[in-house]
Symmetry: C2
Subunit: 201 residues, 2 copies
Amino acid sequence: MPHVSPTTPASAAVRSDVQRNRRALLDAARQLLAVRGDVPMYEVARRAGVGQATLYRHFPDRRALIAAVAEEVLDAVEEEAAAIPPGPGALEALLRLIVASMVRTHALLQVVEDESSNPREPGTLLHGLVQRLLGMVAERFAPAKAAGVLRQDLTVDDVMLVLGMAKGVIEGLPADERDAASARALELALHGILAPRRRGG
Amino acid sequence: MPHVSPTTPASAAVRSDVQRNRRALLDAARQLLAVRGDVPMYEVARRAGVGQATLYRHFPDRRALIAAVAEEVLDAVEEEAAAIPPGPGALEALLRLIVASMVRTHALLQVVEDESSNPREPGTLLHGLVQRLLGMVAERFAPAKAAGVLRQDLTVDDVMLVLGMAKGVIEGLPADERDAASARALELALHGILAPRRRGG
DNA sequence: CCTCTAACGGACAGCGTTCTCCGTTTCGCT
DNA sequence: AGCGAAACGGAGAACGCTGTCCGTTAGAGG
Protein backbone atom coordinates (compact mmCIF):
# COMPACT_ATOMS: atom_id res chain seq x y z
CA MET A 1 0.00 0.00 0.00
CA PRO A 2 2.53 2.60 -0.96
CA HIS A 3 -0.09 4.63 -2.78
CA VAL A 4 -3.46 5.93 -1.72
CA SER A 5 -6.78 5.33 -3.36
CA PRO A 6 -7.93 7.98 -5.87
CA THR A 7 -10.62 9.61 -3.81
CA THR A 8 -8.71 9.73 -0.55
CA PRO A 9 -5.92 12.32 -0.64
CA ALA A 10 -3.09 11.37 1.70
CA SER A 11 -3.40 14.43 3.89
CA ALA A 12 -6.51 16.29 2.86
CA ALA A 13 -6.20 20.06 2.77
CA VAL A 14 -8.50 21.72 5.27
CA ARG A 15 -11.85 22.18 3.69
CA SER A 16 -12.96 25.74 3.18
CA ASP A 17 -16.17 25.46 5.19
CA VAL A 18 -14.23 24.06 8.10
CA GLN A 19 -11.96 27.08 8.16
CA ARG A 20 -14.89 29.41 7.70
CA ASN A 21 -16.88 27.85 10.50
CA ARG A 22 -13.96 27.83 12.88
CA ARG A 23 -13.48 31.52 12.29
CA ALA A 24 -17.16 32.23 12.71
CA LEU A 25 -17.24 30.27 15.95
CA LEU A 26 -14.22 32.02 17.40
CA ASP A 27 -15.59 35.40 16.41
CA ALA A 28 -18.99 34.64 17.86
CA ALA A 29 -17.47 33.37 21.07
CA ARG A 30 -15.23 36.39 21.41
CA GLN A 31 -18.11 38.77 20.89
CA LEU A 32 -20.34 37.00 23.40
CA LEU A 33 -17.55 36.58 25.92
CA ALA A 34 -17.01 40.31 25.76
CA VAL A 35 -20.21 40.76 27.70
CA ARG A 36 -20.57 37.76 29.98
CA GLY A 37 -18.45 34.83 30.96
CA ASP A 38 -21.18 32.21 31.24
CA VAL A 39 -22.34 32.14 27.65
CA PRO A 40 -24.28 28.96 26.75
CA MET A 41 -22.63 26.92 24.03
CA TYR A 42 -25.73 26.90 21.86
CA GLU A 43 -25.73 30.69 21.89
CA VAL A 44 -22.26 30.67 20.46
CA ALA A 45 -23.32 28.24 17.76
CA ARG A 46 -26.41 30.26 16.95
CA ARG A 47 -24.49 33.52 16.71
CA ALA A 48 -21.92 31.81 14.48
CA GLY A 49 -24.71 30.50 12.27
CA VAL A 50 -23.77 26.87 12.69
CA GLY A 51 -25.22 23.86 14.50
CA GLN A 52 -24.10 22.84 17.94
CA ALA A 53 -22.52 19.68 16.61
CA THR A 54 -20.22 21.79 14.49
CA LEU A 55 -19.17 23.75 17.51
CA TYR A 56 -18.35 20.57 19.40
CA ARG A 57 -16.56 19.13 16.40
CA HIS A 58 -14.21 22.08 16.46
CA PHE A 59 -13.89 22.37 20.23
CA PRO A 60 -14.44 19.24 22.30
CA ASP A 61 -15.94 21.13 25.19
CA ARG A 62 -16.59 24.52 26.70
CA ARG A 63 -13.12 24.94 28.13
CA ALA A 64 -11.48 24.24 24.81
CA LEU A 65 -13.49 27.01 23.21
CA ILE A 66 -12.62 29.47 25.94
CA ALA A 67 -8.98 28.50 25.69
CA ALA A 68 -8.98 29.03 21.92
CA VAL A 69 -10.48 32.48 22.29
CA ALA A 70 -8.07 33.34 25.06
CA GLU A 71 -5.20 32.20 22.92
CA GLU A 72 -6.14 34.56 20.13
CA VAL A 73 -6.54 37.40 22.57
CA LEU A 74 -3.14 36.64 24.07
CA ASP A 75 -1.67 36.66 20.58
CA ALA A 76 -3.01 40.16 20.11
CA VAL A 77 -1.72 41.31 23.48
CA GLU A 78 1.69 39.90 22.71
CA GLU A 79 1.76 41.73 19.43
CA GLU A 80 0.80 45.03 21.01
CA ALA A 81 3.29 44.41 23.79
CA ALA A 82 6.03 44.08 21.23
CA ALA A 83 5.58 47.76 20.46
CA ILE A 84 6.36 48.77 24.03
CA PRO A 85 9.91 50.12 24.27
CA PRO A 86 11.90 47.91 26.62
CA GLY A 87 12.97 49.46 29.88
CA PRO A 88 11.87 50.07 33.45
CA GLY A 89 8.48 51.39 32.36
CA ALA A 90 7.61 48.42 30.19
CA LEU A 91 5.96 46.45 32.98
CA GLU A 92 3.50 49.20 33.78
CA ALA A 93 2.63 49.59 30.11
CA LEU A 94 2.14 45.85 29.75
CA LEU A 95 -0.16 45.75 32.74
CA ARG A 96 -2.31 48.46 31.23
CA LEU A 97 -2.45 46.47 28.02
CA ILE A 98 -3.43 43.25 29.73
CA VAL A 99 -6.09 44.88 31.87
CA ALA A 100 -7.53 46.63 28.83
CA SER A 101 -7.80 43.24 27.14
CA MET A 102 -9.36 41.68 30.20
CA VAL A 103 -12.06 44.29 29.92
CA ARG A 104 -12.78 43.16 26.39
CA THR A 105 -13.16 39.44 26.98
CA HIS A 106 -13.98 37.13 29.82
CA ALA A 107 -11.72 34.54 28.23
CA LEU A 108 -8.68 36.33 29.61
CA LEU A 109 -10.37 36.60 32.97
CA GLN A 110 -10.55 32.82 32.98
CA VAL A 111 -6.84 32.60 32.36
CA VAL A 112 -6.11 34.96 35.22
CA GLU A 113 -8.44 33.02 37.48
CA ASP A 114 -6.77 29.78 36.51
CA GLU A 115 -3.41 31.30 37.25
CA SER A 116 -4.35 32.18 40.78
CA SER A 117 -6.18 28.94 41.50
CA ASN A 118 -3.52 26.45 40.44
CA PRO A 119 -0.42 28.31 39.43
CA ARG A 120 1.90 25.37 39.00
CA GLU A 121 -0.43 22.56 38.13
CA PRO A 122 -0.06 21.54 34.52
CA GLY A 123 -2.59 19.49 32.64
CA THR A 124 -5.16 22.21 32.48
CA LEU A 125 -6.06 23.39 29.04
CA LEU A 126 -5.42 26.93 30.14
CA HIS A 127 -2.10 26.11 31.70
CA GLY A 128 -0.10 26.90 28.61
CA LEU A 129 -1.76 30.26 28.36
CA VAL A 130 -1.08 30.97 31.99
CA GLN A 131 2.56 30.25 31.31
CA ARG A 132 2.57 32.62 28.40
CA LEU A 133 1.02 35.39 30.44
CA LEU A 134 3.43 34.71 33.25
CA GLY A 135 6.32 34.84 30.82
CA MET A 136 5.27 38.16 29.36
CA VAL A 137 5.07 39.67 32.80
CA ALA A 138 8.29 38.14 34.10
CA GLU A 139 10.20 39.43 31.11
CA ARG A 140 9.36 43.02 31.99
CA PHE A 141 9.47 42.52 35.71
CA ALA A 142 13.21 42.03 36.04
CA PRO A 143 14.27 45.29 34.34
CA ALA A 144 11.68 47.28 36.26
CA LYS A 145 12.82 45.89 39.56
CA ALA A 146 16.49 46.34 38.71
CA ALA A 147 15.86 49.97 37.83
CA GLY A 148 14.23 50.55 41.20
CA VAL A 149 10.86 51.40 39.73
CA LEU A 150 9.24 48.72 41.82
CA ARG A 151 9.17 48.19 45.53
CA GLN A 152 12.15 46.05 46.39
CA ASP A 153 10.13 43.43 48.28
CA LEU A 154 8.01 42.67 45.23
CA THR A 155 7.83 39.36 43.41
CA VAL A 156 6.31 38.39 40.09
CA ASP A 157 3.51 36.74 42.05
CA ASP A 158 2.60 40.11 43.44
CA VAL A 159 2.24 41.45 39.94
CA MET A 160 0.00 38.54 39.02
CA LEU A 161 -1.98 39.33 42.13
CA VAL A 162 -2.60 42.76 40.67
CA LEU A 163 -4.14 41.12 37.62
CA GLY A 164 -6.36 39.07 39.91
CA MET A 165 -7.42 42.29 41.56
CA ALA A 166 -8.34 43.83 38.25
CA LYS A 167 -10.36 40.74 37.48
CA GLY A 168 -12.38 41.26 40.63
CA VAL A 169 -13.25 44.77 39.59
CA ILE A 170 -14.15 43.87 36.03
CA GLU A 171 -16.39 40.87 36.46
CA GLY A 172 -19.93 41.59 37.35
CA LEU A 173 -19.60 45.19 36.26
CA PRO A 174 -21.75 46.47 33.39
CA ALA A 175 -19.70 46.62 30.23
CA ASP A 176 -19.76 50.38 29.93
CA GLU A 177 -18.16 50.94 33.32
CA ARG A 178 -15.43 48.38 33.07
CA ASP A 179 -12.92 50.55 31.32
CA ALA A 180 -12.98 53.40 33.78
CA ALA A 181 -13.22 51.23 36.87
CA SER A 182 -10.44 48.85 35.88
CA ALA A 183 -8.14 51.69 34.90
CA ARG A 184 -8.74 53.33 38.24
CA ALA A 185 -8.20 50.04 40.04
CA LEU A 186 -4.90 49.51 38.27
CA GLU A 187 -3.92 53.03 39.18
CA LEU A 188 -4.69 52.28 42.83
CA ALA A 189 -2.75 49.05 42.73
CA LEU A 190 0.21 50.82 41.20
CA HIS A 191 0.32 53.73 43.61
CA GLY A 192 -1.75 52.63 46.57
CA ILE A 193 -4.50 54.55 48.28
CA LEU A 194 -2.48 55.88 51.16
CA ALA A 195 -0.89 59.29 51.01
CA PRO A 196 2.64 59.39 49.59
CA ARG A 197 5.32 58.67 52.14
CA ARG A 198 7.97 61.34 52.66
CA ARG A 199 10.86 58.94 52.83
CA GLY A 200 11.38 55.42 51.57
CA GLY A 201 9.37 53.52 54.10
CA MET B 1 -64.55 39.94 66.88
CA PRO B 2 -62.62 41.64 69.61
CA HIS B 3 -61.39 38.35 70.93
CA VAL B 4 -59.63 35.44 69.24
CA SER B 5 -60.67 31.84 69.14
CA PRO B 6 -59.05 29.59 71.74
CA THR B 7 -56.72 27.66 69.50
CA THR B 8 -55.56 30.57 67.39
CA PRO B 9 -53.37 32.95 69.34
CA ALA B 10 -53.52 36.45 67.91
CA SER B 11 -49.82 36.65 67.13
CA ALA B 12 -48.40 33.19 67.57
CA ALA B 13 -45.04 32.98 69.25
CA VAL B 14 -42.43 31.51 66.94
CA ARG B 15 -42.42 27.78 67.29
CA SER B 16 -39.26 26.27 68.70
CA ASP B 17 -38.58 24.00 65.74
CA VAL B 18 -38.90 26.96 63.42
CA GLN B 19 -36.25 28.86 65.31
CA ARG B 20 -34.06 25.78 65.55
CA ASN B 21 -34.31 25.03 61.86
CA ARG B 22 -33.62 28.57 60.87
CA ARG B 23 -30.47 28.56 62.94
CA ALA B 24 -29.39 25.22 61.53
CA LEU B 25 -29.98 26.45 57.99
CA LEU B 26 -28.05 29.65 58.48
CA ASP B 27 -25.19 27.78 60.11
CA ALA B 28 -25.10 25.18 57.38
CA ALA B 29 -25.19 27.83 54.69
CA ARG B 30 -22.44 29.83 56.33
CA GLN B 31 -20.21 26.81 56.63
CA LEU B 32 -20.74 25.76 53.04
CA LEU B 33 -20.40 29.29 51.72
CA ALA B 34 -17.05 29.48 53.42
CA VAL B 35 -15.67 27.16 50.78
CA ARG B 36 -17.56 27.88 47.59
CA GLY B 37 -20.07 30.40 46.38
CA ASP B 38 -22.20 28.11 44.22
CA VAL B 39 -23.51 25.75 46.86
CA PRO B 40 -26.64 23.84 45.77
CA MET B 41 -29.64 24.53 47.92
CA TYR B 42 -30.26 20.89 48.66
CA GLU B 43 -26.74 20.63 50.05
CA VAL B 44 -27.56 23.35 52.52
CA ALA B 45 -30.74 21.56 53.52
CA ARG B 46 -28.94 18.26 53.90
CA ARG B 47 -26.17 19.74 56.00
CA ALA B 48 -28.75 21.44 58.17
CA GLY B 49 -30.59 18.15 58.59
CA VAL B 50 -33.88 19.43 57.21
CA GLY B 51 -35.87 18.94 54.02
CA GLN B 52 -35.60 21.28 51.10
CA ALA B 53 -39.13 22.47 51.58
CA THR B 54 -38.17 23.73 55.00
CA LEU B 55 -35.31 25.66 53.53
CA TYR B 56 -37.59 27.30 51.01
CA ARG B 57 -40.18 28.01 53.66
CA HIS B 58 -37.60 30.03 55.54
CA PHE B 59 -35.93 31.64 52.55
CA PRO B 60 -38.01 32.09 49.41
CA ASP B 61 -35.07 31.62 47.11
CA ARG B 62 -31.34 31.30 46.87
CA ARG B 63 -30.66 35.01 47.04
CA ALA B 64 -32.68 35.40 50.21
CA LEU B 65 -30.57 32.75 51.90
CA ILE B 66 -27.33 34.37 50.81
CA ALA B 67 -28.61 37.73 51.97
CA ALA B 68 -29.53 36.34 55.37
CA VAL B 69 -26.09 34.83 55.81
CA ALA B 70 -24.43 38.02 54.64
CA GLU B 71 -26.51 39.99 57.09
CA GLU B 72 -25.28 37.95 60.02
CA VAL B 73 -21.72 38.26 58.83
CA LEU B 74 -22.11 42.00 58.50
CA ASP B 75 -23.49 42.10 62.03
CA ALA B 76 -20.34 40.42 63.24
CA VAL B 77 -18.12 42.75 61.26
CA GLU B 78 -19.95 45.74 62.63
CA GLU B 79 -19.49 44.50 66.14
CA GLU B 80 -15.78 43.94 65.67
CA ALA B 81 -15.50 47.30 63.96
CA ALA B 82 -16.96 48.95 67.02
CA ALA B 83 -13.80 47.97 68.86
CA ILE B 84 -11.60 49.91 66.48
CA PRO B 85 -10.51 53.17 68.06
CA PRO B 86 -11.84 56.05 65.95
CA GLY B 87 -9.28 58.12 64.13
CA PRO B 88 -7.29 58.35 60.92
CA GLY B 89 -6.22 54.71 61.09
CA ALA B 90 -9.72 53.33 61.55
CA LEU B 91 -10.39 52.97 57.84
CA GLU B 92 -7.39 50.77 57.27
CA ALA B 93 -8.30 48.60 60.24
CA LEU B 94 -11.86 48.30 58.99
CA LEU B 95 -10.69 47.25 55.56
CA ARG B 96 -8.59 44.50 57.07
CA LEU B 97 -11.59 43.36 59.03
CA ILE B 98 -13.87 43.30 56.02
CA VAL B 99 -11.38 41.49 53.82
CA ALA B 100 -10.78 38.91 56.52
CA SER B 101 -14.51 38.30 56.63
CA MET B 102 -14.72 38.08 52.87
CA VAL B 103 -12.20 35.27 53.10
CA ARG B 104 -14.50 33.41 55.44
CA THR B 105 -17.70 33.57 53.43
CA HIS B 106 -18.73 34.00 49.85
CA ALA B 107 -21.87 35.70 51.07
CA LEU B 108 -19.93 38.89 51.65
CA LEU B 109 -18.31 38.52 48.26
CA GLN B 110 -21.79 38.63 46.79
CA VAL B 111 -22.51 41.87 48.59
CA VAL B 112 -19.32 43.43 47.29
CA GLU B 113 -20.13 42.22 43.80
CA ASP B 114 -23.58 43.67 44.04
CA GLU B 115 -22.14 46.94 45.21
CA SER B 116 -19.96 47.28 42.16
CA SER B 117 -22.57 46.10 39.69
CA ASN B 118 -25.42 48.39 40.64
CA PRO B 119 -24.34 50.75 43.36
CA ARG B 120 -27.40 52.94 43.45
CA GLU B 121 -30.15 50.67 42.26
CA PRO B 122 -32.47 49.75 45.08
CA GLY B 123 -34.86 46.84 45.01
CA THR B 124 -32.21 44.21 45.20
CA LEU B 125 -32.30 42.03 48.24
CA LEU B 126 -28.67 42.78 48.87
CA HIS B 127 -29.10 46.50 48.44
CA GLY B 128 -29.67 47.17 52.10
CA LEU B 129 -26.53 45.30 52.97
CA VAL B 130 -24.57 47.20 50.36
CA GLN B 131 -25.76 50.38 52.00
CA ARG B 132 -24.65 49.16 55.38
CA LEU B 133 -21.22 48.26 54.12
CA LEU B 134 -20.97 51.57 52.35
CA GLY B 135 -21.98 53.34 55.52
CA MET B 136 -19.36 51.61 57.62
CA VAL B 137 -16.68 52.57 55.16
CA ALA B 138 -17.84 56.13 54.67
CA GLU B 139 -17.90 56.72 58.38
CA ARG B 140 -14.17 56.00 58.66
CA PHE B 141 -13.28 57.50 55.33
CA ALA B 142 -13.86 61.12 56.23
CA PRO B 143 -11.56 61.26 59.26
CA ALA B 144 -8.81 59.41 57.41
CA LYS B 145 -8.96 61.77 54.52
CA ALA B 146 -9.10 64.83 56.74
CA ALA B 147 -6.03 63.64 58.60
CA GLY B 148 -4.14 63.34 55.35
CA VAL B 149 -3.66 59.60 55.69
CA LEU B 150 -5.28 59.05 52.32
CA ARG B 151 -4.39 60.40 48.92
CA GLN B 152 -6.24 63.65 48.49
CA ASP B 153 -7.85 62.65 45.18
CA LEU B 154 -9.51 59.62 46.73
CA THR B 155 -13.23 59.03 47.00
CA VAL B 156 -15.26 56.47 48.93
CA ASP B 157 -15.85 54.71 45.62
CA ASP B 158 -12.14 54.11 45.34
CA VAL B 159 -12.18 52.40 48.68
CA MET B 160 -15.05 50.19 47.58
CA LEU B 161 -13.02 49.43 44.50
CA VAL B 162 -10.33 48.08 46.78
CA LEU B 163 -12.88 45.67 48.22
CA GLY B 164 -13.77 44.58 44.70
CA MET B 165 -10.10 43.96 44.09
CA ALA B 166 -9.82 41.80 47.16
CA LYS B 167 -12.83 39.86 45.93
CA GLY B 168 -11.03 39.09 42.70
CA VAL B 169 -8.11 37.66 44.55
CA ILE B 170 -10.17 35.59 46.94
CA GLU B 171 -12.65 33.90 44.65
CA GLY B 172 -11.41 30.84 42.88
CA LEU B 173 -8.48 30.52 45.23
CA PRO B 174 -8.18 27.37 47.37
CA ALA B 175 -9.35 28.13 50.89
CA ASP B 176 -5.96 27.70 52.49
CA GLU B 177 -4.33 30.38 50.38
CA ARG B 178 -6.99 33.01 50.64
CA ASP B 179 -5.81 34.54 53.87
CA ALA B 180 -2.26 35.18 52.78
CA ALA B 181 -3.14 36.24 49.25
CA SER B 182 -5.91 38.63 50.25
CA ALA B 183 -3.79 40.19 52.96
CA ARG B 184 -1.00 40.74 50.49
CA ALA B 185 -3.44 42.14 47.95
CA LEU B 186 -4.81 44.58 50.48
CA GLU B 187 -1.25 45.56 51.34
CA LEU B 188 -0.58 46.25 47.68
CA ALA B 189 -3.75 48.25 47.29
CA LEU B 190 -2.89 50.30 50.33
CA HIS B 191 0.68 51.09 49.39
CA GLY B 192 0.92 50.33 45.70
CA ILE B 193 3.51 48.25 43.91
CA LEU B 194 5.65 51.10 42.68
CA ALA B 195 8.64 52.26 44.65
CA PRO B 196 7.96 54.99 47.20
CA ARG B 197 8.08 58.47 45.78
CA ARG B 198 10.57 60.88 47.30
CA ARG B 199 8.23 63.83 47.45
CA GLY B 200 4.50 64.17 47.51
CA GLY B 201 3.72 63.44 43.87
C1' DC C 1 -20.94 16.32 -14.00
C1' DC C 2 -20.45 12.59 -10.61
C1' DT C 3 -19.10 10.43 -6.60
C1' DC C 4 -17.04 9.79 -2.31
C1' DT C 5 -16.40 11.43 2.02
C1' DA C 6 -16.09 14.63 5.50
C1' DA C 7 -18.64 18.06 7.64
C1' DC C 8 -23.08 19.73 8.89
C1' DG C 9 -27.42 20.78 11.77
C1' DG C 10 -31.34 20.05 14.42
C1' DA C 11 -33.34 17.24 17.63
C1' DC C 12 -32.70 14.95 21.82
C1' DA C 13 -30.88 12.30 25.76
C1' DG C 14 -28.72 13.21 30.19
C1' DC C 15 -27.62 15.86 34.13
C1' DG C 16 -27.58 18.95 37.91
C1' DT C 17 -30.19 22.36 40.03
C1' DT C 18 -34.12 25.05 41.67
C1' DC C 19 -38.43 25.19 43.57
C1' DT C 20 -43.22 22.75 44.67
C1' DC C 21 -46.86 19.26 46.21
C1' DC C 22 -48.98 16.72 49.51
C1' DG C 23 -49.26 13.15 52.96
C1' DT C 24 -47.15 13.01 57.66
C1' DT C 25 -45.24 14.76 61.95
C1' DT C 26 -44.54 17.93 65.63
C1' DC C 27 -45.56 21.80 68.45
C1' DG C 28 -48.15 24.30 71.84
C1' DC C 29 -52.10 24.77 74.31
C1' DT C 30 -56.01 23.13 77.06
C1' DA D 1 -53.70 12.98 76.88
C1' DG D 2 -56.01 15.16 73.00
C1' DC D 3 -56.57 18.42 69.35
C1' DG D 4 -56.02 21.94 65.65
C1' DA D 5 -52.84 24.35 63.09
C1' DA D 6 -48.55 25.01 61.45
C1' DA D 7 -44.30 23.16 59.98
C1' DC D 8 -41.98 19.27 58.06
C1' DG D 9 -39.64 16.03 54.45
C1' DG D 10 -39.09 13.37 50.48
C1' DA D 11 -40.31 12.80 45.94
C1' DG D 12 -40.70 14.93 41.75
C1' DA D 13 -41.94 18.53 38.13
C1' DA D 14 -39.73 22.08 35.55
C1' DC D 15 -35.81 24.17 33.62
C1' DG D 16 -31.44 25.41 31.41
C1' DC D 17 -27.38 23.66 29.78
C1' DT D 18 -23.99 20.30 27.92
C1' DG D 19 -22.64 17.14 24.81
C1' DT D 20 -24.24 13.29 21.19
C1' DC D 21 -26.82 10.80 17.17
C1' DC D 22 -27.98 10.28 12.66
C1' DG D 23 -30.13 11.56 8.40
C1' DT D 24 -28.75 15.34 5.15
C1' DT D 25 -25.68 18.60 2.70
C1' DA D 26 -21.85 20.36 0.46
C1' DG D 27 -16.93 20.48 -0.59
C1' DA D 28 -13.02 18.64 -3.61
C1' DG D 29 -11.09 15.75 -7.04
C1' DG D 30 -11.70 12.66 -11.07
